[in-house]
Amino acid sequence: MVELRVNGVVQQVDVEEEMPLLWALRDALGITGTKYGCGIAQCGACTVHLDGRAVRACQVAVGDVGHREITTIEGLGTPESPHPVQAAWIELQVAQCGYCQSGQIMSAAALLERTPDPSDDQIDRVLSANLCRCGTYPRIKSAVKLAAQRLQGG
């Protein structure tokens, strides 16, 4: 049994400690907004927050999470009450297939948390870890900027 704090709820999961957090979320807890794309830290589809920092859930063993708070896309916001980053994503209609977008949004939200007014270079550096096969990058970039503006009350 491993104890995890996911989106504000403490959960007991009956899995081995070495299971990647990605699969504990998806298969053991049924929290599937976090996606599997590569399993080797190349695509970013599995990005979640650990105590607010973006990590690749395919690279973190559940046994190493400890008491850190896990936030997934479901914990960031909801369809009724989206996080400002999600609201920007909706407003600019970023998603095509959408499969990468949970990870893109989690990366963007963590970036804006620490760097409320990121430069183009900072956006490039952080979001380049997230692959989008559909090529939604131009709108991702615009949406990060829109969200930054909104978060700063603009």
Binding site: T32, P82, Y99
Partner: protein, 748 residues
């Protein structure tokens, strides 16, 4: 050219059928003695309806049969119906439906609806048109070849209009008010006195009425949804992690599985040792499947670990083992008999022996490319002795049903395919091996749903890629003009490989080996295009823009060499050579939009241009680059095309820019190279495509000068790579004749 036009102009019939508790509206087809796998379940003369609108006591359901791989198909289909039906697509149910019309057969027959005419020439034309991809895709409930919009454009609006008028007729009978006095609004029929009758309450009455089919479609100036920026129906779910893709579905008691099959695709399994694997925690069983081994376990991670722990001996793959041997085969094919010569204007040979002409020769190569959509292939199957249920993202639900029946012995009418939203496809899901593998494992675990997920490594190495191709060309310039272009490409046949797996091998030449060359509207006086068919090697399939993806680079790349040799401006020469008004307008618009005055943009900066017409859409792109000390930077791209009518401006921009990024990213750094029968590339670390930091500003423009409505999922791909290569030449003098370009230059 204009192949899609012949389809959009054909006739079709909208009718209705009673269904449980209500009524469905859709198109009719009748079984005739012509092959159409869709109608296999029907007796001759029987009718089937493909429903688009269903209304019952629970409300309105729009059935959007074209799969959504991310290109916005659900949304555009829903908006087409809603424009005529007067419902809000965000507040009705949407479903991709079940494959095949047979699902609704019984009801159609019970009602015995009349279907006065059947346009036989239409079906015959489809069969004759088998050589052409779009025609072939059309008949078979597939999504591909940029066909969704042109096909849906009239059909779905007509279905919405027939449904609306029939509901009004039902309301007229119920209220005694003449139909012409009634109007419709947001899912209701409204009487002159303001009474509102919900569609749901009229459904059963409407089922008993002959559908009102003499309806006029609303003219574009009256549209309230189409042509405007509308919110995609799935955009909130996709931005909040709440959309379930196939890979996300969960059922009680579900098992998880993964497979490894011969990396030499089609090669056999010789032996395997699963003794260690079988005793690992959480393993249900190890199953031998076609050409490989599968593991069924308690979670996906376990299935991955265990399947990778099995010792397996593979037979050789059924094709040359190395990339070098594959190139040799492609080169040899040029010495054989032509597969096609669809263009032979003037006399190229005479021009090559003209002593006043400058003659150029070149060889261009394009590599195998994986589709690699971000959601790896997966399927959930629940099997019992006489029933199969399948949940998966696919473009070919009808074929899955046929193949599943052959594999399992279950009767087709007891096989149900539930099409799921897809995390990308790009042509990948026109294949169904992964589904058949899931069926094999579910048959070993009857009664429990089995979710089979591929590792990314299995996915990348079993992709059915775009084929490698080798083109040889000669050209002649004289008096500052391109006088001759002799283009010859060799390739294995995608159509034969892919169709062989779907239905059996395809006779006749494969036009896709040269599509993007023979069919271009360029008036070069001596112009010859020849296709050479190399033997089947690695199994291949359609990859976003199909033949045009590789041929586009080869054809436009060498054309640029001819322009340079002739000493002409490439943009002006394309315009001068262009024989098609709509295409010329595209080029002229691109010239003015990009402020084109020539390839040079000053020190260390330059641009290239390329044109390609594919799927009925003329598309031209300018790529601007800077040569920096660390490598080439792509600064800006202009993309202009002709689509007839823009139905969804937000989505069309997304599709054009997405295609440009797809085209550029793969041209920059992607290839599959074979060694020991398998690709060396196994995951995104060595098959990367474009990333955000490399993404240029992209200006996209869609013109509406023509009268055909065309889809835009693919046409922006072909010109992107050659426009970039031509820009690199303009900035550096380096002519690159093979992809990926990063074999020769660095990108920053």
């Amino acid at each position: 050219m204009g192949r899609l036009g012949t389809v959009t102009r054909r006739t079709f019939l909208i009718g209705s059928a009673a269904v449980a508790g209500g009524v469905a509206f859709g198109t009719y087809m009748v079984k005739r003695p012509l092959p159409n796998p869709l109608l296999d379940d029907l007796a001759e003369g029987e009718a089937a309806i493909t429903p688009y609108v269903k209304i019952d006591a629970d409300g309105v359901t729009l059935i959007t049969p074209r799969a959504d791989k991310g290109q916005g198909a659900y949304s555009i289909q829903a908006h087409l119906i809603a424009e005529e039906l007067d419902v809000d697509p965000h507040s009705v149910r949407l479903t991709p439906g079940l494959p095949g019309p047979a699902y609704y057969n019984a009801n159609v027959l019970k009602e015995g609806s009349p279907f006065p005419q059947y346009d036989e020439s239409w079906m015959a034309q489809r069969v004759r048109g088998l050589m052409e991809l779009p025609a072939k895709l059309m008949g078979m409930q597939m999504t591909g070849g940029s066909t969704t919009t042109p096909e849906a454009y009239e059909k779905l609006r007509m279905a919405g209009a027939v449904a609306r008028e029939t509901l009004k007729e039902a309301a007229a009978r119920q209220t005694g008010v003449a139909r012409s006095m009634l109007s419709t609004e947001d899912g209701h029929v409204v009487t002159p006195s303001g009474d509102r009758l919900a569609y749901a309450d009229l459904a059963s009455l409407a089922a008993d009425i002959r559908p009102v089919t003499n309806v006029e479609l609303r003219p574009p100036e009256d549209w309230t949804r189409l042509g405007r920026s509308v919110e995609r129906v799935d955009i909130v779910a996709k931005s909040t992690g709440t959309l379930d893709y196939g890979i996300d579905l969960d059922f009680d008691d579900m098992l998880h599985a993964s497979v490894r099959t011969n990396p030499g695709m089609g090669g056999a399994l010789v032996s395997f040792d699963a003794s260690a694997a079988e005793s690992m925690r959480g393993v249900s069983q190890v199953v031998e499947i076609t050409n490989g081994v599968g593991v069924v376990a308690d979670n996906t991670w376990r299935a991955f670990q265990v399947v990778n722990a099995i010792e397996i001996e593979w037979a050789d793959g059924p094709y040359p083992s190395s990339q070098g041997e594959i190139w040799d085969e492609l080169a040899r094919a040029h010495d054989g008999e032509p597969d096609s010569r669809n263009r032979d204007d003037g006399d190229v040979e005479a021009m090559f022996s003209d002593s006043a002409a400058t003659v150029l020769e070149a060889e261009y190569r394009v590599p195998f490319l994986a589709h690699a959509p971000l959601e790896p292939m997966n399927a959930i199957v629940k099997a019992s002795d006489d029933r199969l249920e399948i949940w998966t993202g696919t473009q070919i639900p009808g074929f899955i049903k046929t193949h599943a029946a052959e594999l399992s012995g279950v009767a087709p009418e007891n096989i149900f395919v539930y099409v799921q939203p897809m995390g990308g496809s790009f042509g990948r899901r026109l294949e169904d091996t992964y589904v058949l593998q899931a069926i094999e494992m579910a048959l070993a675990e009857k009664g429990r749903p089995v979710k089979m997920t591929w590792t990314r490594e299995e996915d990348m190495t079993h992709d059915y890629p775009r084929p490698a191709q080798l083109a040889r060309m000669r050209g002649a310039v004289k008096n500052g003009e391109v006088q001759a272009y002799d283009f010859a490409n060799s390739s294995s046949s995608v159509m034969n490989s892919w169709f062989g797996r779907l239905m059996g091998p395809l006779p006749g030449p494969d036009a896709t080996i040269v599509s993007g060359a023979w069919d271009q509207p360029l008036g070069i006086p001596n112009y010859r295009v020849t296709g050479y068919r190399a033997p089947e090697m690695v199994p291949t399939s359609s990859w976003r823009s199909v033949g045009n993806s590789g041929v586009g680079f080869q054809h436009a790349g060498f054309l640029d060499e001819l322009f340079v040799a002739a000493g002409v401006d490439p943009m002006d020469e394309l315009i001068r050579l262009c024989t098609h008004d709509l295409s010329r307008q595209v080029l002229e618009e691109l010239k003015s939009l990009s402020g084109w005055t020539g390839p040079s943009l000053g020190e260390d900066r330059a641009r290239g241009v390329a044109f390609a017409m594919s799927f009925g859409v003329p598309m031209a792109e300018v790529v601007e680059v800077t040569s920096t000390p660390r490598g080439i930077r792509i600064d800006k791209v202009y993309a202009v095309c002709e689509v007839g009518r823009v139905l969804d401006p937000v989505n069309i921009e997304a599709q054009i820019t997405g295609g440009v990024i797809w085209g550029l990213g793969h041209a920059m750094n992607c290839e599959l190279t074979y060694e020991n029968f398998a690709p060396k590339q196994t995951n995104y670390h060595n098959f990367e495509g474009m990333r955000l930091y490399q993404t240029p500003e992209i200006v996209a423009k869609a013109l509406e000068n023509g009268d055909e409505v065309n889809g835009i999922g693919e046409p922006s791909v072909p010109p992107a790579g050659p426009a970039l290569a031509n820009a690199i030449f303009a900035v550096s003098g380096q002519r690159i004749r093979e992809l990926p370009l990063n074999k020769h230059v660095r990108f920053v």
